[in-house]
C-alpha cells in the first residue's frame, strides 16, 4: 500500500535528476570557456573506459610505470564503459574535467575538436616518440582544423575467422575473391553447418555494421564510405543499393540465428563448429577459451571489385585531453609517454594480447595470428575505423535498425534505405 507514492516520487526524481544533471552541465559549459589557468598541483587524472578486469589492471601497470619514471604523476580512474560513453560530453564540457580520456580518433575526436573541447597537442607530435608513426595514423589524429588532438595507443583488426582443423578436414581453402567466397559458403552448407555466423542479437546489434562497412569499402571504396557516414552522400543512393545487392547474394548462407545470438554466443557457435566462419574483430578472443584459440585462423574479407584499393577496418584506441585541463604541460608529458613503444608493450602484455601497438617499433604479443593481423593492416591501402567511429555513436542505432530489418526482410530494402536516410538526416542535422 505504501509503495505507490514512493514509486511515483522515484519516477519524478529520476526525471528530475536527468534534468538537473543536464542543466548543470549546460551551466558549466557556458561559464568555462575562458579558463585556461595553468595552475599545477595534484596528479594528472586519466579517465578510462577499459573496465574489464584484464584491461583495467593493464592500464594500472601502465600508470604505475609512468609514475616510476619520476617525470610526472598520474592517476587512473576507471569508469564502466556504458557510463563513460553517455557521460563523455559532460566530462569534456566540465570546467574541472578529467585531464586525459580514453577514446577514438578520426571523426569522433574531430567532432569534439570542432567544438574546441580537445587540447591541441600538435607540438608533442614533433617529438622523437612519434618519429615512426605512419601518415595514415597522423591523418587519423588530426582535426579538420589541422591540429593534432589525439595520441593513438593500440588497434585491432577485423577478419573472417574460422577453425583451421575444420577447413583442413573438409579440404577447404581461404578465398580471396567474392565468387570464391560464395563457393566456399556452398561447400560449407553441404557439410551441414551454417556457413556464416553473425552475432548481431542480444545487445550487440552493432556487429552487423561490420558487413555493411566491409561491403561498402569493397564495392565503393573507403573514401566513399567515410563521406557517406559524414552525410555527404545519401543512404538511398544507388551506390548503397549495390552494397545490399552483394549482401543479398551471401544472405542465404547466414546462420538463421544470426540476429538472435550476441557475438559472444556466436563465437561459441563457431568454436563448436555449428557455424563455419564469422566476420568479427579480434576482441572476440577475450570471450573464447584460450586453448581453442590455437585452432583459429582468419582471412581477409574477399575482394569484390579489383579496381578498388584494398582498405581494412583497423579500429584504433588511444587518448585525447580535455581543452579545459588545469595540467597542460603534465598531460602532454604523459601523452608522450603513452606513445612510446615501452608504454604500449606494457599495456599489450597485460591485456588479452590480440591488440596491436600503434608505435611501429613496439613488439606485439608475437603469436602467428597477431603477426598475420599486423601484416593485414600494414599492407592495407587505407584503414577505416568502424561504423560508429567513422561517424558517431548517435548514428549507430540507425544502422542497427536498418541492418536487422534487412537481415529479416531483405525484400524491403528500398523502404529500409529510405527510412535509414530519414533517421540519419535527423542526426546529421543537429
Amino acid at each position: 500500500m505504501i509503495t505507490s507514492p514512493p514509486s511515483r516520487r522515484g519516477f519524478l526524481t529520476g526525471a528530475g535528476a536527468i534534468g538537473a544533471a543536464a542543466l548543470m552541465s549546460g551551466c558549466v559549459a557556458s561559464s568555462s570557456g575562458g579558463s585556461g589557468s595553468q595552475s599545477s598541483g595534484g596528479p594528472v587524472t586519466l579517465q578510462s573506459n577499459l573496465s574489464s578486469p584484464q584491461a583495467k589492471s593493464a592500464m594500472q601497470n601502465l600508470v604505475d610505470s609512468y609514475n616510476k619514471r619520476g617525470s610526472g604523476k598520474a592517476e587512473l580512474n576507471t569508469v564502466a564503459s556504458e557510463t563513460f560513453r553517455t557521460q563523455l560530453p559532460t566530462y569534456l564540457t566540465s570546467a574541472n574535467p578529467p585531464d586525459l580520456l580514453t577514446w577514438y580518433p578520426g571523426s569522433v575526436a574531430n567532432s569534439y575538436a570542432k567544438k574546441d573541447l580537445l587540447l591541441d597537442v600538435s607540438d608533442i607530435w614533433s617529438k622523437p616518440e612519434f618519429a615512426g608513426y605512419s601518415a595514415a595514423q597522423q591523418r587519423l589524429c588530426t582535426s579538420s582544423a589541422g591540429k593534432k588532438v589525439f595520441v593513438p595507443a593500440t588497434y585491432y583488426w577485423w577478419g573472417v575467422f574460422y577453425r583451421k582443423s575444420n577447413f583442413a578436414k573438409w579440404g577447404l581453402q581461404e578465398p580471396t575473391t567474392w565468387d570464391e567466397f560464395l563457393g566456399l559458403c556452398d561447400k560449407l552448407k553441404s557439410k551441414g553447418v551454417a556457413p556464416i555466423g553473425l552475432g548481431a542479437g542480444g545487445n550487440t546489434a552493432w556487429v552487423a555494421s561490420s558487413w555493411f562497412d566491409y561491403l561498402n569499402i569493397r564495392v565503393n571504396g573507403a573514401q566513399y564510405h567515410r563521406d557517406l557516414l559524414a552525410g555527404k552522400h545519401r543512404f538511398d543512393d544507388p551506390e548503397v543499393r549495390k552494397v545490399f545487392d552483394r549482401w543479398s547474394e551471401a544472405l542465404p548462407y547466414f546462420d538463421p540465428n544470426g540476429t538472435a545470438l550476441a557475438f559472444q554466443d556466436a563465437t561459441t557457435a563457431l568454436l563448436q563448429s555449428r557455424t563455419g566462419m564469422m566476420l568479427i574483430g579480434t576482441f572476440f578472443a577475450d570471450a573464447a577459451p584460450k586453448d581453442q584459440l590455437d585452432d583459429i585462423d582468419f582471412f581477409r574479407f574477399p575482394v569484390i571489385d579489383p579496381e578498388i584499393p584494398l582498405a581494412e577496418e583497423g579500429p584504433t584506441d588511444g587518448y585525447f585531453a580535455s581543452a579545459h585541463t588545469r595540467h597542460k604541460a603534465e598531460v602532454k608529458d604523459f601523452m608522450r609517454y603513452m606513445a612510446t613503444a615501452e608504454a604500449q608493450e606494457i599495456y599489450i602484455k597485460g591485456s588479452s594480447g590480440t591488440a596491436l601497438p600503434t608505435n611501429p617499433t613496439a613488439k606485439d604479443s608475437g603469436t602467428a595470428l597477431v603477426k598475420k593481423g599486423r601484416a593485414l593492416i600494414e599492407s592495407a591501402s587505407d584503414v577505416t575505423q568502424f561504423f560508429n567511429r567513422d561517424s558517431s555513436d548517435a548514428l549507430q542505432p540507425t544502422a542497427d535498425t536498418a541492418l536487422t530489418r534487412f537481415l529479416a526482410k531483405p525484400k524491403q530494402i528500398d523502404s529500409i534505405l529510405t527510412t535509414w536516410q530519414r533517421d540519419a538526416q535527423k542526426i546529421w542535422s543537429q
Binding site: S7, I18, N257, L261, T404
Partner: protein, 299 residues
Amino acid sequence: MAVFTATRVRRRATGVPPVVLAFVLVPLLAETFWVFWPAIQGFYLSLTQWDGVSAPKFIGLGNYREMLGDSVFRTAVLDTVLWLLLFGGLSAVLGLGAALLLQQERRGVGFYRAALFLPVVFSLVATALVWQAMYQPDGLINKTLEGVGLGSLTHAWLADQGTAFYAVIVPALWRQIGYVMVLYLAGLKGIDPVLYEAAKVDGATRWQQFRNITMPQLSSVNAVVLSVIVIDSLRSFDVVWALTRGGPYHSSELLSTYMYSTAFQSLRLGYGSALAVVIFLLAFGVIVSYLVRAFREAD
C-alpha cells in the same frame, strides 16, 4: 499573571510553531530544488534542440511537431497502450485471482504466497538476464518445445518482430503478479467476515458474494492497484531494455525505451525531453482522471 498565561495559551493554539514550519518548508525547498525545478527544466529542454555538448537551441514546438510525423513514435505509443492493457490488465486479474485463491489460511499456503511474491524481490535486470537465457535459440524454452514434440513451434523469440513484444511482457508479468497479489491480500484481510456470514444466511452464491461484497470492499485497494499499474506500465523500461532494447527494428519499442535511446544514444536530448513530457502527461492524465472520478463517487 492569569491573564498572561491565558494569552500565551491562546498564542500557542493559533500560531504555527517554528518547528512545524520547518518541517513543512525544508522538505518543500528540497522538493522544489530536486524535483520541481528540474522538471520545469525538462519542459524547457523539450522546446530546444540539444546534443548535450553545444548550447541548447530554442525551437519552440518543433519537437512536438516532429512527433506527429514520426512513425517510430506512433509505434511506441501503440505499444505502450497495448502494454498498459496487457501488462496492466493481466497483472490485475491474475493478481486478484491469486489473492482470492491464497487468502484462506491452509496448510502450505504460505509457501505458495512466498513463491508468487519471490520474483518481486529480484532486480528486474537480473530477471531479464535469466529470461534472456531461456529465450535463446538453444535455450530452455525451445529445448522444452522440442522435447515434447513441438519442435515446429521453436522460435528466436526475442529476435522475431512478431514475438519480441510478447516475449518481453511475460517476465514483466511474472514479477508484477506477485506484487499485485500482495496488495489484494492485504485488502481482502481487511474485509469484515460478518458481511460474508450475513450474505450466506441470505443465500447468496459465491459469485454474488464476490460481486456485491468483495469488489465494493476492495474499491480503495483497486485505486492503489490502478495507480501502481499505470505508473509501472509507463515506466517499464529496464526489462525491455535488457531483453531487446526496443528492437528488432522498433517492434518492442515503448515510449520509455524510445525516450532513452533518443536522448542518450542518438544524443537528441531536446526530442528525448519532449518524449518524457508526453510520458508525464499520459501518466498524470490517467491518474488524475481516475482520482477525480473516485472522489466524486465518494462525495
